[in-house]
Subunit: 137 residues, 2 copies
DNA sequence: AATATTATCGCGATCATGTCGCAATAATGA
DNA sequence: TCATTATTGCGACATGATCGCGATAATATT
C-alpha cells in the first residue's frame, strides 16, 4: 500500500507528502471522513488548518466531494464514477448514531424542482442505526 | 395583522411578548428563517440566546421544525400539516444562492435504506437558483 | 547542481454558529 | 397583592472552520 499516485499536474498545484497522505487515506477509507478523523490517522504531524486547506483544495480540483453531516460537520469522500466535469453526488449519506460510521447509500435520487429552479448542490443526509448497531438486532 | 394567537396553555410554559413576536414572524414568513434573519426583524430588543431558546422551545412543543441548511446554519419553519405527534418532514428544502430564500419542496420523499438500517433523522437539502434569480431567466 | 520563484505549511489568532450559567425580570396562579 | 418560577439578558464558553503571516519546501529556471 501507500502507493504514490497523484494528479496535480495542472494548475499551479504542487505534490506534497501531506497531500499524498490525505488522498491515500481518503481512498482507503470506506466511509466519508471529517477533519478530526483524519487528524487521528495522521497524528499531530499535520496541522489542522492544513488538513482543511488540502481537503477544500481537493474539492476545487473535483477529485473529492464535501458533505455537510447532520451533526454540523463536513465530511469528505473520494469521488468514484465521477469525471472532472460531471459528478454524481445525488445520493444520500447515512450516519450511524451509535458507531459513527458514515456511508454513501447506493441509489441515486432525482428530485424534481419547481419550474425555473436550477440545482447546484445536493445534500442528502439520514442518520439512524446501521444494521450492526440496530437495537432490534 | 399582529394577531395575538398563541398556545402555551399546557406544561409550565408562559406567554411572553418575545415568543409572540417570534411566532408571528415565523407564521408570516413564507420561508424558513434563521436566528440572524429573525434578529434583523426584531432588532436588538431581543437577545441572541433568547431567540435560540424560544425557537428550540417551539421545536420541543412540536409547532416548529428545525432544518440544518447546507450552509451549516439552522433554519426554523412553522409546521403545517403536522400534528403534535406525527410530523411530515421528509421533504427537501431549497436554498437560493442568490436571494437566500429557503423553501420546502412539495413532494415527500421515501428513501430505501439497506436491510436492518433504521432511520431517525432525515435531512434533504438542495441549493441553487430559484426561478426569480435563475440566470437563464 | 545551484538558484529563484512561490505554493504550501505550521502556528496562532480570529470568526461563526450555537449553547450555558447565573442573576435580574416578569408572567402566572393563589 | 404576593409568591413562585419560567423566562430573559448578558457574558462566558464550546466547537468547527477560516485567515494572516513568516518559514518551509516543491517546482522551474539557469
Ligand atoms: Mn464527485
Ligand atoms: Mn412539523
Ligand atoms: Zn453503526
Ligand atoms: Zn432566489
Amino acid at each position: 500500500m501507500i502507493a504514490i499516485i497523484f494528479l496535480p499536474l495542472r494548475m499551479n498545484k504542487r505534490n506534497t507528502k501531506t497531500k499524498q497522505l490525505i488522498l491515500e487515506t481518503l481512498k482507503n477509507a470506506e466511509t466519508a471522513v471529517s477533519q478530526d478523523i483524519l487528524q487521528e490517522e495522521l497524528g499531530d504531524a499535520v496541522d489542522r488548518a492544513t488538513i482543511y486547506r488540502v481537503l477544500n483544495s481537493f474539492c476545487d480540483d473535483g477529485i473529492v466531494h464535501k458533505i455537510l453531516g447532520d451533526d454540523g460537520k463536513y465530511y469528505f469522500a473520494f469521488c468514484v464514477n465521477c469525471t472532472e466535469k460531471k459528478h454524481h453526488h445525488n445520493h444520500f449519506h447515512f450516519r450511524c448514531l451509535e458507531c459513527g460510521k458514515i456511508e454513501c447509500l447506493p441509489n441515486e435520487v432525482d428530485i424534481k424542482l419547481p419550474k425555473g429552479y436550477r440545482s447546484v448542490n445536493f445534500n442528502g443526509f439520514i442518520s439512524g442505526y446501521c444494521a450492526a448497531c440496530s437495537p432490534g438486532a
